[in-house]
């Protein structure tokens, strides 16, 4: 880490927001900084880092009365992976976390950083489960796809994953090797009683989300495989979705 970099440790959430408001584009929120540093040259960041990793965003995970899960945006991924509420409610998520970076990375990397960075693997999974992102200040919760402006201007506080009792979820990432590899393809699906939500990220392209009826009786929507990438990755994404969906359909038949 470069010694010339300016870091600010706000006292609390309000402090963080007011520092950001005064610095505007010259400041940025930083949590684990594991994604942010990928864009830095040897000189380090050009903006002042507003360190939110130590702020109190509530418990890492809590269950709302509705059965939905509320996750703290600054919770480190490894803590989430080991959290019993997550392995109980959404074991697919806990397992998938094992494919994000390495243990050392996950000890630093936060859920919020992953979802807002722009190329995080978890975005694909959180898109199909229709997770909502709650930002400080505006009590409104937004879906991932609705966040179109600069993703890191507002402070993300929590992520709400709706109750998924009747849904079946799959998510899979293909990298260059088993682990610790940038994703080449990430696919996810969430099959409900009458509909299925499918999402794909091909290499560095944006996540594409499609919702359709279940059981499916037509081909997969071509829109899922758009994006600037080679045909191989499109084939792989197609195979993965087809394969997982066929398995789920078989389960339904059984």
């Amino acid at each position: 880490m470069n010694v010339d970099t300016a870091y600010v440790r706000p006292a609390d959430m309000e402090d963080a927001i007011s520092i950001k408001a005064s610095l505007r584009a010259a400041g940025m929120y930083g949590c684990g900084l594991t994604a942010a540093q990928l864009g830095w040259g040897v000189k380090g960041p050009e903006q002042t880092i507003i360190d939110i990793s130590g702020l109190d965003f509530g418990p890492d995970v809590c269950l709302a009365d509705s059965g939905s899960m509320v996750l703290a945006a600054n919770a480190p991924l490894e803590r989430l992976r080991l959290n019993p509420l997550i392995s109980g409610q959404m074991p697919t998520f806990a397992d998938f976390l094992g494919y994000v970076g390495s243990t050392a990375m996950r000890n630093q990397a936060s859920l919020g950083g992953n979802l807002l960075w722009g190329a995080g693997d978890l975005e694909v999974l959180f898109a199909v489960v229709d997770a909502k992102l709650r930002f400080a200040g505006n009590g409104r919760a937004q879906s991932l796809g609705q966040i179109t402006s600069d993703r890191s201007d507002d402070l993300l506080v929590s992520i709400i994953v709706p109750a998924l009792q009747e849904s079946r979820i799959f998510v899979e990432k293909l990298g260059h090797r088993q682990a610790f590899s940038p994703a080449r393809v990430v696919v996810a699906g969430c099959v409900g009683r009458q509909s299925v939500r499918l999402a794909v990220r091909l290499a560095g392209n944006p996540v594409v989300l499609v919702e359709t009826s279940w059981p499916m009786n037509g081909p997969l929507d071509d829109a899922l495989f758009t994006g600037d990438t080679d045909i191989h990755l499109k084939t792989v994404a197609h195979n993965l979705l087809r394969g997982h969906l066929a398995q789920l359909a078989q389960q339904d038949m059984a």
């Binding site: 260059h176 682990a179 191989h232």
Partner: protein
């Protein structure tokens, strides 16, 4: 005995490698490297950089004697580009300055103009008549021709014939420790602390460049933080030495990873076209091989790599006739060099794939096919040379056949599985002409320790623990009584390079040869001091004991012996185990190894996962079992990279992977359980009794993995690493995609 030198310090992070712990006032060294792969240097002006405050040296080719070139068989590489650059990342100039910032500023002040030349990127194009020449001698760096019998006629007699062509990857050494070091000048010479496999060779090379007598150059070459061959080369030492000698100040110069990815010598990509045939009974009759190697810009160890690859291209099998041609072409794709496996890895993988294809065609089980064709214990070597007999080959085949059967994977719609085998051999040490002999010293030092001094180097392979185990087994002494001094030109005796899997063999033979004369000196000294006949004494833990009056502490401790008699020294010289043969370079001592690999192939993604690996090295009894195991499992991991993930691509001379985020070394998650089953039996009259473990595991593991892929897919890989795209293409052609 600990297999890892400085284990505790390494775990605590306090272990220091050679480029760490520089003296006060050490200058920062930095390199200006070529952005172009092939160009004429039209202008190079370092005057502004030289006059910058805080800069103590700026060196270019003009500071190196004009006839100074580096290489082994062919001297063609200047330490700093002279008149031309031949690969992207080639050093053009270097600076030593008080801080990194000043060094960077000085680099920016160097004015240079490069006039681009046509880039030679494909070895086949390099050998075309009209290709741009990298060197005045042309682009054919070296070639290899050998034939035995009449292959053309023997193919006529074959019942089954197959062709197979394999291209292999440009693997980078990817050691954690980057190339570099520290150089400390004195009024009359220098001390160079930088990783090398061969401290004496490095010493004489640097001394000749600086015009110094050898004795004024001290080289400390180990511990090395990973090499895999990359630091067998002379890397950045000459530039570092030149900077320190010019600046008259200590200098530290360590490459950055992005520089290393372009500068480090890599494994040579081979294109291997094979045709082999057998009779109805499965006996191999003929082999033709045409091998084309991408050498990169400078010869380095390329000619030796080609020779070794061609020598190993028959693997462990007896072909009736062979016709072999190999060519090594200069290109602008970095520099190929020494790399664990040394050319044999590439050709062994190709031939083992071909053998399996032929076995399948002949409807013979691959293991049975190998047995039918195994070279006889007393057969001449692959190129007709006299070799140390290899009766262990059949033991290795027995052990391979006797491996417990793997449980079949549960059949699945998604995955295919396959098992592959390999049985290989490779020469140990250097080919005839060497350097194969070695020298070392056994000494009772003044602090009372029996010390083995050699210039062999520790690079994480466990040399020191192996030497200590040999000393303990040779002298009935305690752990505190022995010492191993390795890795520098202080040794007083040149043990030759720690390369070509020869380190353990050399240490063992030196200690074995020196043991009796050294013991004799110790006994004479002890008898004189204790005033008893020599045969009344016994050497034991701590010193000498009188046989007739046994005590629980020595009658004469080793330190008292040293205090009275002074340092007791025995210099040892051993000859090389080698033969020479007209026209080809040949090895005499061979190591055999077999392997079995399992893979699982994902029909949805084309991804290949190695699910298990058995290695059966015939290296005699492991001297340091943990270090031996480490060599084998490390080799398995490196084989995985070679087969499945690693390749440094060049596009028109441009290095495409500058870091490990785009060059994929297998991680622990990719490495399956690797089971090592040492085949410890070697012939009782074997002149060494052991074989080196450095390379052979890799040479067997890679072809076994490639064969496992072939067996799962029913199609042999044509390119390594195996790409998921290729796998899905094969499955699509076979109608086996989901």
């Amino acid at each position: 005995m600990n297999a890892v030198t400085g284990l505790e310090e390494k775990l605590r992070g306090t272990f220091r490698y050679l480029a760490e712990g520089q003296p006060e006032g050490t200058l920062h060294g930095a390199l200006l490297t070529s952005p172009l792969a092939h160009a004429t240097i039209r202008r190079l002006d370092v005057s502004a950089a030289r006059s910058l405050n805080g800069v103590h040296a700026v060196v270019t080719a003009a500071d190196v004697p004009s006839d100074f070139l580096m290489g082994t068989a062919i001297l063609d590489r200047p330490p700093l580009a002279r008149a031309k650059v031949r690969f992207q990342g080639e050093p053009i100039a270097a600076v030593a300055a008080e801080t990194k910032a000043i060094a960077d500023a000085a680099l920016a002040l160097i004015a240079f103009e490069l006039e681009p030349l046509p880039i030679v990127s494909a070895p086949r194009d390099a050998l075309d008549e009209g290709a741009a020449k990298l060197h005045d001698s042309g682009n054919l760096c070296s070639d290899f021709i050998y034939s035995r019998g009449d292959a053309r006629a023997d193919f006529e007699d074959c019942a089954h014939v197959i062709d197979h062509t394999l291209t292999t990857p440009r693997q980078v050494p990817a050691a954690m420790e980057l190339e570099g070091g520290i150089c400390i000048p004195s009024p009359t010479g220098i001390e160079l602390r930088a990783a090398t496999h061969s401290p004496f060779y490095t010493r004489s090379l640097i001394a000749s460049m600086l015009g110094l007598p050898d004795k004024e150059v001290r080289v400390i070459g180990s511990p090395i933080g990973g090499s895999y061959g990359g630091k067998e080369e002379i890397h950045i030492q000459p530039v570092l030495a030149l900077l320190a000698w010019t600046a008259r100040r200590p200098v530290r110069l360590v490459l950055e990873r992005s520089q290393s990815m372009a500068f480090a010598t890599t494994r040579h990509p081979f294109e291997i076209a094979l045709k082999i045939g057998c009779d109805r009974a499965g006996r191999l009759l003929a082999l033709t091989a045409d091998v084309l190697v991408d050498n990169g810009a400078y010869a380095s160890f390329g000619p030796e790599v080609l020779d070794t690859g061609m020598e190993c291209i028959q693997s462990a099998y007896a072909f009736k006739s062979v016709s072999l041609r190999g060519r090594l072409a200069y290109t602008n794709n970095g520099v190929g060099g020494a790399f664990r496996g040394f050319g044999a890895l590439q050709t062994l993988t190709a031939i083992e794939l071909a053998v399996d294809i032929l076995a399948r065609k002949a409807s013979i089980d691959p293991l049975a096919f190998r047995r039918i064709n195994l070279a006889g214990a007393n057969d001449p070597g692959p190129l007709g040379q006299a070799i140390i007999p290899q009766p262990e080959l059949s033991k290795v085949a027995d052990a391979l056949s006797a491996l417990p059967v793997w449980r079949d994977e549960t059949p699945s719609q998604r995955y295919l599985s396959g098992t592959g085998y390999a049985l290989v051999r490779k020469g140990e040490g250097f080919a005839g002409g060497g350097p194969n002999g070695a020298s070392g010293v056994l000494a009772l030092t003044l602090d009372g320790q029996v010390t083995f001094q050699s210039s062999l180097v520790e690079m994480g392979q466990g040399l020191e623990s192996t030497v200590r185990n040999i000393l303990l087994a040779s002298f009935d002494l305690g752990d505190a009584d022995i010492c191993c001094a390795t890795g520098s030109s202080d040794a007083g005796a040149d043990s030759g390079p720690t390369s070509a899997s020869r380190g353990t063999q050399i240490a063992l033979r030196l200690i074995r040869a020196g043991k009796m004369p050294f013991l004799e000196k110790l006994y004479v000294g002890a008898a004189e001091i204790l005033q008893v006949p020599m045969d009344a004494l016994r050497l034991g833990p701590g010193g000498f004991y009188q046989r007739m009056a046994p005590q629980n502490k020595p009658d004469l401790s080793l330190s008292d012996l040293a205090a009275s008699a002074g340092e007791i020294v025995t210099r040892i010289d051993i000859p090389g185990i080698e033969t020479t043969q007209a026209g080809v370079k040949v090895h005499t001592l061979f190591t055999a190894c077999a392997a079995r690999a399992g893979v699982r192939i994902d029909r949805w993604t084309g991804q290949v996962v190695c699910t298990g690996l058995d290695l059966l090295p015939a290296c005699g009894p492991p001297i340091s079992p943990l270090a031996f195991h480490g060599q084998m499992t490390g080799a398995g991991a490196q084989a995985l990279g070679f087969c499945l993930t690693e390749h440094q691509p060049y596009e028109e001379g441009t290095v495409m992977a500058r870091n490990f985020d785009s060059y994929f070394i297998p991680t622990i998650a990719d490495v399956p359980d690797i089971n090592v089953h040492p085949v410890t039996w070697l012939a009782p009259d074997d002149p060494v009794g052991i074989r080196g473990a450095g390379e052979i595991g890799l040479n067997a593991a890679a072809p076994a993995i490639a064969n496992a892929v072939a067996s799962a897919l029913d199609a042999a890989p044509t390119h390594l690493p195996v790409r998921p795209e290729w796998v899905l293409g094969v499955l699509a052609r076979q109608g086996r995609t989901p």
